[in-house]
Symmetry: C2
Subunit: 521 residues, 2 copies
Amino acid sequence: MNGAESLLTTLTNSGIEVCFTNPGTSEMHFVAALDEVEGMRCVLCLFEGVISGAADGYARMARKPASTLLHLGPGLGNALANVHNAKKGCVPMVNIVGDHATYHLEYDAPLTSDIEGIAGPVSHWVHTSSAPEHIARDAAEAIRQAGAHSIATLMLPADVSWGENPAGAEPVVRIPAPQSVPAQRVAEAVARLRSGSNCMIMIGGGTEVSLERGHKASQIAQACDAQLCTDVFPTRVARGAGTAVIERLPYLAEMAVDRLKDVEQMILIGAKAPVSFFAYPNVMSAISPAGCEHFVLAQNEEDIDQALGALIEALGAGVNTPQVHKLNVCDVPTGSLDANTAAMAIAHYLPDDAVIVDEAITSGIAVAPMTATARRHDWLNQTGGSIGWGLSAGVGAAIACPERKVICLEGDGSAMYTIQSLWTMAREELDVTVVIFNNRKYSILELEFARTGARGGIPGPNAASMLDIGKPDMDFVAMAQGMGVSATRATTAEEFAAQFKEAMQSRGPRLIDAHVPSLSG
Amino acid sequence: MNGAESLLTTLTNSGIEVCFTNPGTSEMHFVAALDEVEGMRCVLCLFEGVISGAADGYARMARKPASTLLHLGPGLGNALANVHNAKKGCVPMVNIVGDHATYHLEYDAPLTSDIEGIAGPVSHWVHTSSAPEHIARDAAEAIRQAGAHSIATLMLPADVSWGENPAGAEPVVRIPAPQSVPAQRVAEAVARLRSGSNCMIMIGGGTEVSLERGHKASQIAQACDAQLCTDVFPTRVARGAGTAVIERLPYLAEMAVDRLKDVEQMILIGAKAPVSFFAYPNVMSAISPAGCEHFVLAQNEEDIDQALGALIEALGAGVNTPQVHKLNVCDVPTGSLDANTAAMAIAHYLPDDAVIVDEAITSGIAVAPMTATARRHDWLNQTGGSIGWGLSAGVGAAIACPERKVICLEGDGSAMYTIQSLWTMAREELDVTVVIFNNRKYSILELEFARTGARGGIPGPNAASMLDIGKPDMDFVAMAQGMGVSATRATTAEEFAAQFKEAMQSRGPRLIDAHVPSLSG
């Protein structure tokens, strides 16, 4: 087999069976190998930002990495923002980046670039395979690194791809099990939780807050009368009826500071000590009150389930019944359409076992509280702050879970970064409903402008024009139809509810262009 | 003034009066400063790939850099592919990248990343401003570096932006003049050109082939009976009636090798020794024949006009009349619409002084020869091979030259990388006509698949599906209208000619979705 076939076989041997790609000339032997090696589903995307976002959404739902296939440094550059998001969310990803043949690099052809240099800042592990007989071993190491950390980026020069590799492929790669949390640390957590201080358990970060983990955390919190919270943007959270009642730290630093002002002890599970998303003049970066102690029970890469189990055991918390949400579905909204009435319709019609991908920024704020008692679902957050993740993550989530309804909540501004995702949804006939909260503004920036205190918090006309994306208005129905996705526009709560209901009751990609007012009206 | 105002004033003092941007929270003080400092036109783009491509197109036409304003590492990542293209084309660009406040970085907030690390591979100069009182000096250095080399990337931490800078702004920055080519090198070129060898003068690369330079090169070539050629993708070339007859090296290495097989001496002006764009099994990377000598008369950063003048003087070539194209406008096409008939209509109706931005890949091949004798125009090439440049470069070219008609020739595949460009065309009411050669294929990759010899050159069904972007078909009329751009579809030569004629005779953004067959039919 050649290097490309060796690579593909090594990936599929280890259960990496999806590759999101937009290949170029240097990747043609990899593409050719798709007809020689069985077991890889290759998903074509029209832009590399879709690829890395899809790989992120896939890995969160499949609980294993996808691979990407990218075209040299610029292709990796296009993917970079969503690789950043995945890295911040500790989501595993195996990036394969095609490069020129090794002997071609010295000629500095137009597409020659320092690919390792571009990859470094967003990768935990970077390596260039130097010969066809190394590619299987290198791919195996990439799989291990992605499993143990998050982002592994492997460069595949064209001659490594097309050269013969008599050694063949690697067998299944064993990902090292996460390290157990030592008893000493569990004992220390117990001591702090029983110290009589005002305690908060914070879970989340790059750690999935699954149904079971939420239940365990609830049992622990009850056993020691601690508060229970996730950070602002945990990677994946089980929500709705039957899931544990877990508060979410507010995004606005001012509100988060107020929320935490009495906390004396914070026990961190996967999550990190909370910090302000951005810096603002005269606002502290660290959000916990002065004197609050932070104790890391388990880091994201450690064995979270073992840590929770050991803590339950040590506290005798197993006797407690987790505090869970009861199903309480809100009414169908009527009247004007805004973020609240849209949230009501979403909460009302949300089907069992849906996946919500949230990048609706300001308009999405209402949806999370409204769906807390809706039917059971998973919620994926934007973990790295790099806009343009939601639609593409929806692609990946739908490919990982073809039997579940995926709902992308998107701002109009954020949707436009990777709008090409719609085409892949249509091409792969994915069961995704996209809700565009179309308020014709970078509404979050109107808020942030005020918070930074720039120009006394009031944008002048030039500044205001940079926050206004309503000139011209964008017609997402037309754009979606242009990429093969059925779409409708909603301007009242009744229209939105009817359209969302129909989307939940049918299958396939669908977009609702929901015209809502911005925060500033 | 604060740091942001100091920065803005320094930029405008030196004639940098356009900023392409998509700002975020960390850039709000820069945005606020737009209402305090006069003279900067800030152009909002919905995605950073549009920003860097527009800055490239602007600088090529304005012959001076634009600035970009980008949002932290991910914003720079999104811009990276078109920064790469500009770097390869030696196009000047001043990138301002907002970052967290300096004291906020240690908290590793979600958007924290190694911005210098990301910037390095695509920049000639990278610097992080560390205090408000340094920002003017740092901006001045960025302007100098962009002028002397190409890509300058300056990080602007939020606290440097909002902090007071009592020192104010820098006065106009003096760009060092390009170095003269020494007489010794000119004499050596003369000796080679008069050696009796089979000589070729190659001009281009990152060097604009202006009307005047083309004429001079033609005089020189006649004086010593040399062939005259540009490389495959020179940054900017004056073409059409009255411009010098200059051949263009073919893209396909096989054809280029054949074209050059008898050349013994190559005199390089701006251009580099020709190399194959990609590597292929059993194809040489260097294209010139074995034994061909390459002599660099002038590098791109040197004084090209002085070098040409000195060579004319030394050769006594001033007596020669440049060989120029006579106006010869082809007929209006009829019948079926394909790349050739579309090219005929474009050549027929091309107005005086148009700017053609070419990223039509395979479909564009016919347009260049057909327009060689059309009305006088400038032609911009894709210099770095990173797809997604054309529409955004069209935005920048139109802003640099509001009185000239800009025509973007785009493939359907390449258009989708920065399709958001259409919205900025509508918002700024730019006089751009976009022609989408919609063949429902990555047609170039069908060709390249065969050239790499993968799987005997014949894609299997899985590989073929990765080259096929017609499932679903994309409707560019709908997408353009969704972003506020008037659009029509053409399926016959008559329809295309009528629509293109109308576009040339009116002003404002316009898209024609030209349905053409792919290379493979």
